[in-house]
């Protein structure tokens, strides 16, 4: 199903929309509206790419993708814009982001067997535990990435998120949920543009872009795991990979010059992601074939022709 040309066009559209929104908002530098540039650019870029790839709402939040793109992502954009525009205490920021993170799980799983308790679903106790745990697993990296972006503003964080999105897209597609996996590719393009634009658009708030980028990525991993067949191991590995950027705060990396440090972080990220994608590819190939039981060789055409002779 994934059409490489359509994906490339969607990635280009995402990048262009992101760049246009960033450019437009940077011209409003003196007004409060400029502050929403980063989160809005990433959110709109992601949604634009998704529309280019054929996303069309089927009903009122009837599918997981609709709930991600029309509910969770706008919620994250709103919250990040609000935090950027109105200075508030750290505790309040954690509280606001926590509300979004904790509500993301129930929103994405709305109406599914996980929430209705049908066959293969969760009991009430399991539901509470899993949804709380999932909310925390979205919130902690979110806070960590935003904090790092504030402490050490560096495009490498957005680039790491972009690389992770790319790997997540391939892994989700290999895990049997093609339409969700391909949405991660325009997200990667959006985050690359955000990373490249960061030096030029100084003055706007990049943590907003990182926050929205993370929520988009986490949402895709979430629906890949719960509606597709993404394994928990792959989901967790892809989810923690962007946190590699925190190594920049550790000795001796924190004393290194910017470029060697970035190079090392990106290399580590790509190694981790490469391992996950390779493993997912291996799993895909294993599950695609139908090997004969007991390791017997598969019959050849000649075997069929010789049958009974």
């Amino acid at each position: 199903m994934p059409d490489p040309v359509a994906i490339l066009i969607a990635m280009a559209a995402s990048g262009i929309v992101t760049a246009i929104v960033l450019l437009a908002c940077s011209r409003l530098a003196s007004s409060p509206g400029a502050a929403i540039g980063w989160p809005l650019a990433v959110g709109l870029g992601f949604v634009t790419g998704s529309i280019m790839l054929g996303f069309r709402p089927r009903g009122i939040l009837a599918t997981d993708q609709e709930r991600l793109l029309l509910l969770v992502v706008p919620l994250a954009v709103t919250v990040e814009s609000w935090i950027t525009m109105r200075p508030m205490s750290t505790a309040r920021k954690v509280l606001v982001r926590g509300c979004v993170a904790l509500s993301s799980g129930p929103l994405l799983l709305l109406g599914s067997v996980y929430m209705t308790g049908g066959s293969g679903g969760w009991s009430l106790a399991e539901r509470v535990c899993f949804l709380f745990g999932l909310g925390v697993s979205i919130l902690v990296p979110w806070l960590a990435l935003v904090k790092l972006q504030q402490r050490r503003p560096d495009p490498v964080i957005s680039l790491t998120l972009a690389a992770t999105s790319l790997a997540a897209g391939i892994t989700i597609m290999l895990s049997g949920y093609a339409s969700a996996g391909q949405l991660a590719l325009p997200l990667a393009a959006t985050l690359v543009v955000a990373a490249l634009a960061a030096p030029a658009a100084a003055g706007l708030s990049a943590p907003g872009a990182v926050g929205v980028g993370w929520i988009c990525l986490a949402g895709l991993l979430f629906i890949g795991r719960f509606f597709g067949s993404l394994t928990t191991l792959h989901g967790v590995l892809l989810g923690v990979t962007p946190l590699v950027c925190w190594l920049a705060e550790c000795r001796p990396l924190c004393f290194w010059a910017a470029w060697p440090r970035r190079l090392l972080l990106l290399t580590l990220t790509l190694l981790l992601l490469g391992t996950v994608v390779w493993q997912a590819q291996h799993r895909f190939q294993t599950h695609s074939g139908s090997p004969a039981p007991g390791g017997a060789p598969a019959p050849s055409m000649q075997d069929y022709l010789d049958f009974g002779r």
Binding site: A62, T63, G120, Y177, S179, G228, S229, H287, S288, S290
Partner: protein, 186 residues
């Protein structure tokens, strides 16, 4: 729970029936719900659902007959695990969002060797009327003391009518369905 509801539905549909009506529960070990769909216009890919359950009532007055079948979407089996994972995803059946495929009859007419059964078919969260020609209705006692009857039917539907439009073109829009089941008399 769903099974009990199906029983209630069938019993409610048959309120007007006489004492001669017979109620049956579908024997899952002898029930099949298969599908065939064209691939690239070259071949047919076949699959089945392994979890089929339901109840039906056979009444001497055909209009009082009723059929209710529930299929667990998660049990789709096309003989290829990777493809089955994809079929369960929201790209196709969306098994976690729509865990069941159901059919509940709304009208039954007698035809030669069986019934023409019209009912509400719910697939992928969309309900549409579908008509099945069910042939059979013979009876057998197997094992001793257990009365059985069985039916076989087929129909063709467009998957895009049910909101399943993924890859229409390379993968056919028309889906051939074939159902066969035995019921054990209660």
């Amino acid at each position: 729970m769903r099974y009990v509801m199906n029983c209630v539905t069938v019993l409610a549909l048959g309120l007007a029936s006489t004492a001669q009506a017979d109620d049956y529960a579908i024997d899952p070990a002898h029930a099949a719900f298969d599908f065939r769909i064209q691939h690239l216009g070259l071949s047919w890919t076949t699959g089945r659902f392994n979890a089929v359950e339901g109840v039906f009532r056979i009444d001497p007055t055909p209009a009082n007959c009723a059929f209710a079948v529930t299929i667990q979407t998660e049990s789709v089996d096309s003989g290829n695990k990777q493809r089955d994972d994809h079929l369960r995803s929201p790209d196709w059946f969306n098994a976690k969002q729509h865990p069941q495929i159901t059919f509940k009859s709304t009208a039954v007419k007698p035809v030669e060797d069986g019934y023409e059964v019209t009912g509400d078919f719910t697939l992928h969260g969309v309900t549409k009327p579908v008509t099945l020609m069910l042939k059979g209705g013979g009876s057998a006692e197997f094992p001793k003391g257990v009365q059985r009857t069985g039916f076989t039917g087929s129909t063709v539907l467009k998957r895009s009518d049910f909101g399943m439009s993924t890859m229409v073109g390379p993968v056919g829009d028309d889906v051939q369905l074939w159902i066969s089941f035995e019921g054990i008399k209660k």
